[in-house]
Assembly symmetry: C2
Homo-oligomer: 350 residues x 2
DNA sequence: TCGTTTTGATATATCGTTATATCATCTGTC
DNA sequence: GACAGATGATATAACGATATATCAAAACGA
């Protein structure tokens, strides 16, 4: 009742040898139609499910893929997972997701478990402060692996990500064209590579166009934290007229902060998000943001891994997808100030 | 460079037998300190990682748990996953998550893959219209499995869920006490067991307290759909003064619909959500909802599975957690109507 | 009719571990 | 110094599948 049937059980029930049963199940070799039917029937009756541990060990083939991600709850990531799974499942693979909570130690355990189970390939978003050891482990075992979003300095692995610097540069330039000069950057934590790149794009434009001194503010990646960070930011920098955010969640939090302070996003202070999550379009007011399609990103990621698995000797590839500015209601020209020493309202001089 | 080291490699490097190496790695048997050191050193140098396929096959022990969930993107589910992982990882297990997208066929593939790999236990939210076959497969293989959220009629598996009927009954009663009579139910799709139970609680109170005829409206579980459904609902039932929702996401969409229609949630129409997701507290206005702690729910779920794994003969358990009413700003007494049959235009007379 | 090929089924070795049995060597006791 | 028991290492047989080699019987051509 609770014992798992094995190939031998099926073979005996069908009155054939184990080898024959195996060939029928896998559809290889030369088997007569009659015995094929017999074996398949027995297998079905016994609810036989092959043991992939034995099979993959012997054959050296495994169709399981692991996806170690830093934060499963993020809706953007969830869409990525959907894209990854859809493409890989069509190719016969199966994707299991492990949440590392951006903890290098937990990530290490997950990757080790991945190797332990001899999976076919790994997708991962390297946790902040991933030890060199983790990379070397993957390298030493010759695991087909693709890093996602967070690019590592010494690029030994395939990578799929977003053109971060380019995107925030575009966002900042767009705000500058609207007339903003005091533009701040809000969101992200610690020294995540993604944030570093995004800030680089922001500061480059700030200095290229000779705008104000960059103002950079941290915040964990959730709405509540974003709201609080924004409150701090406008208190510390009251002359700020626009904010480029590290992500939509933080941007939505920032808008919330404005509304609670009696300000109107897009009129009093402009806010640009990043990602274009579902809530962005439906928020009040709808959020201007740098859009990337997480689903497409996921498919791309999966495709690169497939290529790597199928052509192990292929040179390392890096593909970065561009984000596109989607203008909604949280951006607009800065308000003309009623005078004083305050930031020179563009267009409105004395 | 790319070949995986095996126990034999380690043993040879350390100048001992495979058996000895195995014992050192697992810390069993009688081994002298000297050879122990030798073997551990060699293992570290070679970056040896045991092959769990071989090990678990031989030993019959596996520390891998699968969690097949209907929708990974749902923030509520993400918190559940965190609770599950935290508890199980503390016990030495490893949880991998598979997203079935509420598709019975995909779910079937995932569960079969689970069995194929001889994992230790399964947690799952049965997809709507899960075929009987899937249950029987699990049963036949004697897999320790716990269903989550969606309880099945013929209860053969342990279950962890929410007291759904009780919760919506409480929500409805609360609205009735505020003075509402025309209370509608909004959200959920098809014949999901969860929704069925929740609607049962709602209709029971509606008839017990002799309120208006129940009005029940479908909606997919996202903000945009919730908004549109709410617009339809109030158009079709203009005298509705309060809405009990199937989930917070839909409830937030409903609030959005009200605001866009020039109505104020909590004053013109009351809205109660379900789940208490993070956004609920921080929305404008903050959402009244039936709160359950997804993290705690996850821990409970994990604990039940552990018990099942450790005591296979234990009778089947069903544990349902109560939801608690959290009153925020989207509920209030119904407006006193100025009379007349038509829906009084709030604020604006002729 | 005989030898050759094709067909259909099977025996056997192997994947990388672990569990059990086995076997020397060392220790201590009287 | 002979013998029991402890100690430390090893040999060997599984686990459940697959790949390769093998083999008998059937089909074929000349």
């Amino acid at each position: 009742m609770s014992d798992r049937p094995k190939l031998e059980t099926v073979a005996r029930a069908a009155g054939v040898s184990i080898s024959t049963a195996s060939q029928v199940i896998r559809g290889t070799g030369r088997i007569s139609e009659k015995t094929r039917k017999k074996v398949l029937l027995a297998a079905k009756r016994l609810r036989y499910v092959p043991d992939n541990r034995a099979a993959s060990m012997r054959s050296g083939q495994n169709l399981e893929i692991g996806f170690v991600i830093h934060h499963i709850a993020n809706p953007f990531n969830a869409e990525v997972i959907a894209g990854v799974s859809d493409l890989l499942e069509d190719e016969g693979y199966l994707v299991s997701v492990l949440d590392a909570h951006d903890d290098p130690e937990r990530q290490g355990r997950h990757i080790e478990a991945f190797i332990r189970n001899g999976r076919a390939g790994l997708l991962w978003v390297p946790a902040v402060d991933t030890p060199q050891d983790t990379f070397e482990l993957l390298k030493a075992h010759g695991i087909p692996a693709v890093t996602f979003l967070r690019r590592t300095d010494k690029q030994e692995f395939d990578h799929v990500g977003i053109r971060n610097a380019e995107a925030t540069a575009a966002a900042t330039r767009y705000l500058a064209e609207l007339g903003h000069r005091r533009i701040a950057y809000l969101g992200g934590t610690a020294m995540a590579a993604v944030r570093r790149d995004r800030i680089a794009g922001y500061t480059r434009v700030m200095s290229d166009l000779e705008l104000a001194e960059p103002v950079i503010w941290n915040s964990p990646d959730n709405k509540l934290a974003g709201m609080n960070a924004m409150l701090d930011l406008i208190q510390a920098n009251p002359r700020t007229t626009a904010v480029v955010c590290n992500g939509d969640t933080v941007a939505l939090g920032a808008c919330l902060a404005l509304i609670r302070s009696g300000l109107q996003p897009g009129r009093d202070i402009s806010v640009v998000g990043f990602d274009d999550i579902q809530d962005a379009a439906v928020a009040t007011p709808p959020l201007t943001t740098m859009a990337v399609s997480p689903y497409q990103l996921g498919r791309q990621l999966a495709q690169v891994l497939l290529d790597r698995i199928r052509h192990p000797e292929m040179p390392v590839t890096v593909s970065e997808i561009a984000a596109q500015l989607v203008v909604r209601d949280t951006t607009g020209a800065p308000r003309v100030h009623s005078g004083g020493a305050a930031p020179p309202a563009p267009g409105g001089g004395p």
